[in-house]
């Protein structure tokens, strides 16, 4: 199995993802330049975190029209696994692969810290290795992570189990105090209707080794590897 990590101008978590997959999980990984027009040979595509195109216009907006995104949309439509982390999540919403939008944090500040995240749906290819409602420690690092969607969309997401991760207390209570950025329903990550596209603001690649302070993100990669095996 091979993971492809898309590199946009301004991506800065591409190497972190590569490191996690290649050196921590010992799987094959390669970089995909944003101007590439083929995803041949890849089993899972990752849109990494960063500041693609300097966050100009809106976060993820310009990257969503990169040549490679046509391929990513086609790959996702055929059921391929696509994981968007942080800026990658923003790009997925701008590209229309996931509903809603990620707006400026309600406190206006860039937030970089470890937060408890609850696994609301553990029956996706990205979360199957977690327990239902398990609370894991994964860091966030963003200024625009305030998830927004209209009432009908959020109702649909909630009703069909498409909210994969929510910000919660360490005990698993979804409260406003546990919400770092103002995201609707404390949404930290959602999956597509088919379940094969996940967008999440927390960074699992930064929480896959004890040396980095947490291994709460390992489940995401272990789940994908299991789904592809």
């Amino acid at each position: 199995m091979k993971f492809g990590i898309v590199v946009f101008p301004g991506s800065n978590c591409d190497h972190d993802c590569y490191h996690a997959i290649k050196h921590v999980f010992k799987k094959d990984a390669g970089y995909i330049w944003h101007k590439d027009t083929s995803l041949k040979g890849y089993d899972c595509v990752i849109l990494p975190g960063g500041f693609s195109y300097g966050d100009y216009l809106r976060t993820g907006a310009i990257a969503s029209s990169s040549p490679v995104m046509n391929e990513v949309v086609g790959f996702a439509k055929k059921g391929g696994l696509v994981l968007g982390i942080c800026n990658g999540f923003q790009i997925l919403t701008e590209a229309g692969l996931l509903p809603g939008a990620l707006m400026r944090n309600r406190g206006l500040k860039f937030i970089c810290k470890h937060v408890p995240v609850r696994v609301d749906n553990n029956s996706t290819p990205f979360t199957a290795k977690y327990g239902k409602n398990e609370v894991v420690d994964i860091p966030i690092a963003h200024a625009d992570g305030n998830y927004f969607a209209d009432a009908e969309t959020t109702k649909r997401l909630e009703g069909s189990g498409r909210i994969a991760f929510r910000y919660s207390t360490a005990a698993g209570a979804v409260t406003d105090e546990a919400n770092p950025n103002g995201a609707l329903l404390n949404i930290a990550g959602i999956v597509s209707e088919g379940g094969n596209v996940l967008g999440m603001m927390p960074h699992p690649e930064r929480a896959s080794e004890p040396e980095l302070g947490s291994v709460g993100g390992r489940g995401v990669f272990e789940s994908i590897i299991s789904a592809l095996s």
Binding site: L57, R58, A61, I62, S65, T93, E94, P99, G100, A101, M103, R104, N105, R106, G107, L108, N146, F148, A149, D150, G182
Partner: protein
């Protein structure tokens, strides 16, 4: 031809930047300020002879890139 595009947040979408600016204005004793909403203004120069055709093209630009219609509205003016 020159076009002006205004992109504004939809009603009901929280605007923390607008709120912060309003707070600052109040601190400066502009007590009459009731609300501030921050948007974007773009000037676009385009080649084209037909206003109708270019307006349709600009609308497409707004729908596909310039605005995110999940959270934003847009308005186009052509000079």
């Amino acid at each position: 031809m020159k076009a002006k595009v205004y992109v504004t947040l939809k009603k009901g979408v929280l605007d923390p930047q607008g709120k912060a600016v309003m707070g600052a204005l109040k601190t400066m004793s502009f007590d009459e300020v009731r609300d501030v909403r921050i948007g974007k203004f773009m000037e676009i120069e385009i080649d084209g002879a037909s206003i109708e055709k270019e307006e349709a093209r600009l609308r497409e630009m707004c729908e596909r890139l310039l605005a995110n219609t999940v959270i934003e509205n847009y308005r186009i003016e052509i000079e």
